[in-house]
Symmetry: none
Subunit: 195 residues, 4 copies
Amino acid sequence: MSSKKEKTREFILDASYALFAKQGFNRITMKDICEAANLSRGGLYSHFSSTRELFEAILEKINQKEEMNFYEEMEQGISATQILDKALALMEDEMNHAEDSLSLAMYEYAGSGETVLMEHFNKMGEAKWTALIQYGMERGEFQRVNVAEIVTIILYAYQGVRMWSRIVPMTQETIQSIASHIRKQLIKEKKYNGI
Amino acid sequence: MSSKKEKTREFILDASYALFAKQGFNRITMKDICEAANLSRGGLYSHFSSTRELFEAILEKINQKEEMNFYEEMEQGISATQILDKALALMEDEMNHAEDSLSLAMYEYAGSGETVLMEHFNKMGEAKWTALIQYGMERGEFQRVNVAEIVTIILYAYQGVRMWSRIVPMTQETIQSIASHIRKQLIKEKKYNGI
Amino acid sequence: MSSKKEKTREFILDASYALFAKQGFNRITMKDICEAANLSRGGLYSHFSSTRELFEAILEKINQKEEMNFYEEMEQGISATQILDKALALMEDEMNHAEDSLSLAMYEYAGSGETVLMEHFNKMGEAKWTALIQYGMERGEFQRVNVAEIVTIILYAYQGVRMWSRIVPMTQETIQSIASHIRKQLIKEKKYNGI
Amino acid sequence: MSSKKEKTREFILDASYALFAKQGFNRITMKDICEAANLSRGGLYSHFSSTRELFEAILEKINQKEEMNFYEEMEQGISATQILDKALALMEDEMNHAEDSLSLAMYEYAGSGETVLMEHFNKMGEAKWTALIQYGMERGEFQRVNVAEIVTIILYAYQGVRMWSRIVPMTQETIQSIASHIRKQLIKEKKYNGI
DNA sequence: CATGAATGAGAGTTCATTCAT
DNA sequence: GATGAATGAACTCTCATTCAT
């Protein structure tokens, strides 16, 4: 059973997540968070003593429940194509909801100090995609490709869209292009009907 | 002939460019700019009355001298491959100097209001790459590709790298991957020796 | 037999004595005392509802166990010289441990309100020294002196040293000077070997 | 001609002197000083960025115009007795106006950090009185005394009175006692009519 | 035009104090 | 009684912005 303190803490994290996602890191003040969490100054401060600390707690939390990491599925022997399609679907979904993404906040946060956590996220992304592509190639499902190159395209095209889509309206077609392109690079079949 | 006022204005723009590139938009204060431009408060205010106004002037300026817009070169009948290689070289160079990029500042700026200018940049990018690819296909230099898809990959992979490279150390290989990948999509030849 | 409440109360007084002695009155917060007494906010408040109240309780306590008041000894007919020497030894000891003294805290406390207790301390000091000197003169042990004047010197030179020694390092010689001087004023003999 | 900034600075010093003298160091906030100096927050902060810094400036200023340092007068060959009487008169005056004294503030200030300035004040006091007494003894005006001892008595009895008189009402007699006592220690003549 | 002292709003932070458990 | 989470007032400090010189 989590204590009251624990619950308030979680509540603050959730409430401030929305703020950071919407407005980035630098614009958010402790006061904003007080209001969002319906808490007094002192109350908030007894849990987190700066936006930086709070934001780190959020990243920590995200880090723990990291959604898709392929490894389990690969161990279960699920087909690479299936894993890929699921991953691409998730990516599309995330690109479609960039307003819920911490990307901008992360950039601002990292820009003014610690980057360790960011590098960690980056490494994890690289590793899991590299593993998947190799898995697919070994199983003969994926074409032989320059793995590092494809991973780079996957990661950064995705990031690029996530960032821009906060700012310029992005069509479904554009978002689907990314997934479509990635799939074509890897899968031999003639068509990907996602587009 | 530019007046003294004009010169001071330009000087302020240059000085603050560096600040915005390094620290993004939100962190920069009028005070920082006074110091960077070696100007008194009043002096600065007689030219620009907010960081927003100043930043818009910078964007305006960038917009005007937009470096590569292909059109001239296409009109001159230069080969699509040549134009492409030049553009990719420029992109690589820019990715290698992300610390000089306003990307982060633009995102923050846009995040808190006007996005018109950002959309304009975006449109311009799309348009010129679309034009180039079609030009290349018409001349038989480029493969038949899904133009919109390739343009999407080009623009956003590039943006993604530009953002991340501020934060995580990025290898030459990673950066070259982007250019290499794009070229492979478009050019029939077996090899691209940029990598 | 003292109740648990009584014991906690005493414990708080002792713990906070150290704080007041070291840092004076104004700097000490209820929070500091909570920590020093290892007590929760609510716990502390159920005993004392302000630093002022707490400090007054400390003064009260000191007042009760007032260490040297001569009177008993004078009644027992002990020689004035002996009483004096003992008192001077105690004074020296106290001057040597000014960090344990509440002087600074008392000044600050008094400076912001009630001075009754302070006046009381002062009166007591004057009275007991006056009594001792008269006792010594009557017994022919002490020289005929201007009693009020000597008492003034005794009390304030002592206080002066106690205050300054918190701040500037004070030599043994300096401290002994005070006792030596007082003794010379009162005792006929040529030499005082305390120095 | 002193600049406007310089004038404001001096004005702040004067205004805050009164506050520190009356209430000590710790109780005074920047806000109090704003009000006393009739200045806005920002205005005050552009001159001094903490009460500590401000207080140090006050001490600095006092240090420079140090009122009585005997040396000039000794060089002019003025009689030791005259110098002494003038000094004692000044001391009496200061003891009578303890509410204008920074003593308490100095103790509090020193108690929470730097003591260098305090030691300096102390050293200066010792040095000048030592010089005067030796001067007087050389001229045959003063009795042969233990110089260090008398200096100790002078300095600390004076300090003691200055502190206590903020808190307990002090009679003229008490204050004069100090001067009277010092004079008797030094001067051979039978009578000092200050009392 | 430029200067820089000054204003004042507002963010960050700390605590005395209360109160449900 | 004790606990400690929460409140809210007050303080420190920073800047955008103004304005007399």
